[in-house]
Structures are given as C-alpha cells and as structure tokens.
C-alpha cells in the first residue's frame, strides 16, 4: 500500500487539489504546525510557573491570553485536524472507495481551518477555551474575544462538514462486497466520532451565536444583568464539549487499533467488542456533560444523575484497554517507534481514566475541581493518550506518505523523553491539585509544596520540549533525505499480518 507516492509537484497543485491524500497532507501539515505553536505556548506557561513571582511573562493579562490560545490551538487546530488528516488518508482506502464521498466539500472543510487559526492567533483572547459568561460578555476585551468566537464558529462548521463527509464515505461509499462488520476498527472510530460531532457541535454553534449577540449588547441570554443565566451557557457548552472529549479520544484509540495488532503480529483480540465499545462510548458520552458543573450549585439529584452517566462510560473505555492488552498477550511484539507510542498511550489512557473516576465521584470532585488535578487529568488524555496515539500513527504512516523511513533511534528517543516528560508534568499536576493550587493562575503564593511540584512539572515540560525538537528534526530530515522505505513492509514485520488493503487511489 502506498499513499500518494508521486513525483514532486508544485505546491499549488497540492493546495488546490481535492484528492483525499492531498487534503490529508494539508491537514497533516497545518495540524503539526499548530502542535508546535501551541506547544511553545505551554513551555512559556511552565517557565512562568517555575517560581512564584513574575518570570518571563510580563503581566497577568498576557499569561491569561497565552493559556487561552494554548488550549484553543491544541484542541481545535491540532487534535481535530490531525484526526482528519489520518481519516483522509486512510478511511477511503479502508472502505475501498476512490476518494472521500464529497471531495470538494472535503477541501472546503480544510480551507476553513487556516483563516480560523489566523483569527484565533491574531486576536489572542483571554477568556479561557471555555469562554465563561458573564466574564466573556462584560469583561473580556475585544476584538480578541470576538475574533475567537468567529474562529471557533468557522472551526465548528469545518468539523461538521468533515464529519458529514466521513459518515457518508463510510456508510454509503464502502465497497459493496464489504459489510459494515468488516470495515477496520479505525474506520469504526471515525464513524463514531463523526456521528458525535454532528449531534454535539450544533449546540455549541448556537451558544457561540448567543454569546456574540450578548457581547454586542443586543441580547442577554447569559448576562445576569439582562435577566440571563450564565449556567445555561455552561450546559450548552458542556453538552457539546463533553462528547467532544470522545470525539478527540476515539480516533486516537482507532489509530492504536491499527498499530497494536500489526506490531503484535496477531489479529485483534475481539473486533466485536471494539465496535461495541466505540458505539457505547458515543452514546454514553452524551449522558455526562454536567459532571463539569457539580460546584455550580446543582441539586443532589442532578449531581447523582450525571455521576452515574459518567461512571457508565468507564466500562466501555476499559474494554478498549482489555482488547489491547489481550492482543499483546503472548504475542511476538516488535517495539518499533509506532508501537512504543501506542503502548505508552494505553498506559496513560488507563491512568487518565482512573483519575477521571475520582473526579466523577461527587464528594471528591469538590477537592479536585478547578485545581491543577483537573489540568493533569485532561492533559493525560489530550497529551498522554491522544497525542501519543496520533504521533505513533504519524510514525506509522510516515513511510507510506513520504516513501522514506524516519530515523528509528531518534523516534525512540522522542518517545522515551516524551513519556518521561509527560509523566513528570501531568502526574505532578495531579498532586499539585491535591495541595489546592487553582488552575489558570499567573502567580502563586510561595507555599513550599507548590513550588516543588511546579518545578518538577516545569522540568518535565522542558523534557517534552526537547523531545519535540528531536521529532521535528527527524521528520524534516527523513522526509527529504531518509532511507527509502520498503513500502510493502517498512517495519520488517514479516508481512503475514501486514496491511490488508492494497490500494492506491488515482489522482483526479
């Protein structure tokens, strides 16, 4: 299988192409660009928090803007577009179709991302990625806030269009000889996450419009001074963004379903339980949104309902972990770089999930809510699970995209440093949360435990930063000057369990 090994082309031929691998390449490059941009902001945050007092960031407003754009960038401009990149490359091939169902729509969905990214970065808003009213209505400075709202609006439309395309491609364009029970688990993961997007995103799209008109002063949906209720925004926001967590994590799990059986040289332990767990997650993902809001004054009954809804998602996630471990059991595993990332990702997925159970239990949430515990918890998902799965998959698809092999030693160094760094930063942040440090603070009092934990976390972040420099050098060098890959079996797995699809889609 080769993914668009072509002669070098002028860049506009790729830019104006609607072919799925070209659009995939555009998604890939833009998402990685934003990974490095957003990651640099994280290094700034960690450097600032290394010691109490002002370090490298001049004032609190700049700091608030930095963590807002950091979160917005990595969620909306790295994770989601990266999944679209992988989906664009692989989903049509997995369902044996010549392209995405709507190639032009596909290109349009991609080309909405750069202007949205420009709006978010030029605006540099300060109201956190959650844009809480009434702060975002009465206090947040414009035009940054308005630019953020427009940027998110565009990104929302882009992901709905992308999701629509995946759903139609998978359900309607799959090869007639293939039943839905035969498409690979990664295609199932894109089907599940796309369906979640189509149900969840419109709610936030509506909330964003209301937020904008509230800011313009013509409405008061969320403005208490005009009779509105900020809590209704919280409900609308989390109704979209708790399921969105699954939108982010499900494709990464799907990527691990491609990597782990292949490098274990065994079939997946249970295909049907993988499908079942994906479908379960995309349904129960909608029953837990208000667990983000226990402390807003919810009644005991409401809290109980959302706690049960949250705990209900645990067995489905645990089934994926079981499936991976059972697949690796007694297998002749080859720990090439992609496999190391996938296995590391599962370990951190398990840790993140265990921490999540603590958050969902009502009395414990009042200890952890809005502290660094929560920061550590969701970063174990977004960095430890999703970025790990994604980066592993990037190494996996690298030879098929470029025709060349990345440097295996540098790939392993990248993994080892990243894993150590991730554990240092985010496990430490859990502890920091238990010591009571609130999130989103520019400065903190000189409490010895807080200083120690912050310093460990900052050192961990620098280790991740170094590993990412290794990654960048490896990718750029190997894409141009790497060894030519044996595209039939670039990882030397022996072929038997190797990639089952042999297809190359003609350019058009």
């Amino acid at each position: 299988m080769t993914l668009e090994l072509q002669k070098p082309r002028p860049i506009w031929q790729i830019m104006f192409s609607t072919h799925h691998t070209d659009v995939g390449l555009l998604y890939l490059i833009s998402s990685l660009t934003f990974l490095f941009l957003g990651g640099s902001l994280a290094l700034g945050i960690r450097a600032e928090l290394f010691l109490p007092g002002s370090q490298i960031i001049a004032d609190a407003m700049t700091f608030n803007r930095i963590f807002t754009v950091h979160g917005t960038t990595l969620i909306f401009l790295f994770i989601i577009p990266f999944a679209s990149a992988v989906g664009n490359y692989y989903v049509p091939i997995m369902v044996r179709y010549k392209d995405m169902a709507y190639p032009k729509l596909n290109a349009i969905a991609f080309w909405m991302i750069p202007p949205a990214g420009v709006l978010i970065w030029l605006g540099f808003a300060d109201f956190t990625w959650y844009a809480t009213p009434p702060y975002s209505i009465i206090s947040a400075p414009g035009p940054a806030a308005d630019m953020w709202i427009f940027g998110l609006k565009i990104l929302g439309i882009s992901s709905v269009l992308g999701a629509l395309n995946f759903v139609v491609t998978i359900l309607k364009c799959k090869h007639p000889d293939m039943s839905i029970g035969q498409i690979p688990l990664m295609a199932w993961s894109f089907l599940s996450s796309s369906l979640i997007i189509m149900v969840a995103i419109p709610t936030f799209a509506a909330a964003l419009l209301m937020l904008l008109t509230d800011r313009l002063g013509v409405s008061g949906f969320f403005n208490p001074a005009m009779g509105g209720d900020p809590i209704s925004y919280a409900h609308l926001f989390w109704f979209t963004f708790h399921p969105e967590v699954y939108v982010l994590v499900i494709p990464a799990i799907g990527m691990m379903y491609e990597i782990i059986p292949r490098f274990s040289r065994k079939p997946i332990y249970s295909y049907s339980s993988g499908v079942f767990a994906f479908v379960m997650l995309s349904i129960v993902g909608f029953s837990s949104w208000a667990h983000h809001m226990y402390a807003t004054g919810m009644s005991f009954t409401e809290k109980t309902v959302f706690m049960v809804g949250t705990l209900a998602a645990v067995p489905a996630s645990a089934m994926h972990v079981f499936n991976f471990v059972a697949t690796m059991w007694n297998a002749r595993i080859r720990f090439s770089t992609p496999m190391m990332w996938a296995v590391g990702g599962i370990a951190l997925f398990f840790s993140a999930g265990a921490g999540g159970v603590v958050n969902s239990a009502m009395p414990l949430d009042f200890t952890t809510h809005d502290t660094y515990w929560v920061v550590g918890h969701f970063h174990l998902f977004v960095m430890g699970t999703i970025a790990f799965g994604s980066i592993g998959y990037l190494y996996y698809m690298f030879p098929y995209v470029t025709g060349r092999m990345y440097n295996e030693t540098l790939g392993k160094i990248h993994f080892i440093l990243s894993f150590i760094g991730t554990v240092l930063v985010f496990f430490t942040q859990h502890v920091l949360g238990l010591y009571g440090m609130p999130r989103r603070i520019y400065d903190y009092p000189p409490i010895p435990e807080w200083i120690a934990m912050n310093q460990i976390a900052s050192i961990g972040a620098m280790i991740i930063g170094i590993s990412m420099a290794v990654f960048l050098a490896n990718m750029i060098h190997s894409a141009g000057k790497g060894k030519f890959a044996d595209t039939d079996d670039p990882f030397g797995l022996g072929g038997k369990y190797y990639y089952p699809f042999e297809a190359k889609n003609p350019s058009h």
Binding site: S139, T296, F366
Partner: protein, 143 residues
C-alpha cells in the same frame, strides 16, 4: 476476530461495572451526608467580586479578605457574586462553591481546630484571578 470465546473480557467488564457501582454508591452516601446542613449553622453571606471576597456575618459585621470564625460551630455560606463567576474555596476544609451572579449557592463547614487557612478563588475571573485570596482565621469561642 476469530472464533475464540470472549469470556475473560465479560468477566473483566463485570468486575469494572461492580467497581464503578461501588464507587458510585460510596460517593452517593458521602455526598448525602456532606450536603446535610446542620440546623444551628450560622449564616455567612459570601460575595465575590473582581477581585476580592466580602463576608457578612449574621450580626451584620462585614469583613473583606479575612474571615473570622469560631472553632466548634457550624457555618453556612451563602455564596453570590457581583460581577462575573468566581468560586469560593477553602481547600483545607474542602469548601468549594461557585459564586454566580444572579444565584445564591450554599455550602457549609464546621472548623474543628484553631488555625489559619487560605481562601482563594478557583474559577477564572480575569486579570487578578491569581491573587483573589483571603485568610480564614479559626479562633477559640469567645463565650
């Protein structure tokens, strides 16, 4: 895939479900007890605004940035906000309640030892959110 049976996975899923049920039941029971406000609790009105806390005791005395309470008594906080969302937090006593304009949220606690504790804001509220702090002084009963 294959034709092997899946029984280890179903046993595992059953164990996970049992664990989650236990966690849920324990949490439900603990939260039920925690939420029960004692009848003799004194009310303190807590008002958050950018970027400080104001406390109003039952007898009308007001404090800004500091709160004095007596050991052994129960206190009920009525938490509100004058501008944007805040979150009233005494981490050492696991007191956490959002201050939301237009709403009055309640939370209670009963200090059990003399001492000083930090009060902070745990919900992002803008420029000086990081320094929206105060101190809780738990003192011996005066009477």
């Amino acid at each position: 895939m294959g034709n092997h049976s899946n029984w280890p996975e179903w046993i595992y899923v059953a164990v996970v479900i049992a664990l989650m049920t236990w966690v849920g039941a324990e949490a439900w029971e603990a939260e039920r007890l925690v939420e029960h406000v004692p009848a003799d609790a004194e009310t303190i009105i807590v008002t958050g605004q950018q970027w400080f806390w104001t406390f109003e005791h039952e007898d009308g005395t007001k404090e800004i940035g500091e709160l004095h309470v007596e050991v052994g008594k129960a206190y009920k906080f009525e938490v509100m906000s004058k501008d944007v969302n805040h979150s009233f937090n005494i981490h050492d006593y696991v007191v956490l309640m959002d201050a939301i304009p237009g709403r009055v949220n309640t939370v209670w606690f009963a200090p059990d030892a003399v001492g000083e504790h930090d009060i902070q804001c745990r919900e992002y509220c803008g420029l000086i959110h990081y320094n929206m702090r105060g101190t809780l002084y738990v003192t011996e009963p005066t009477t």
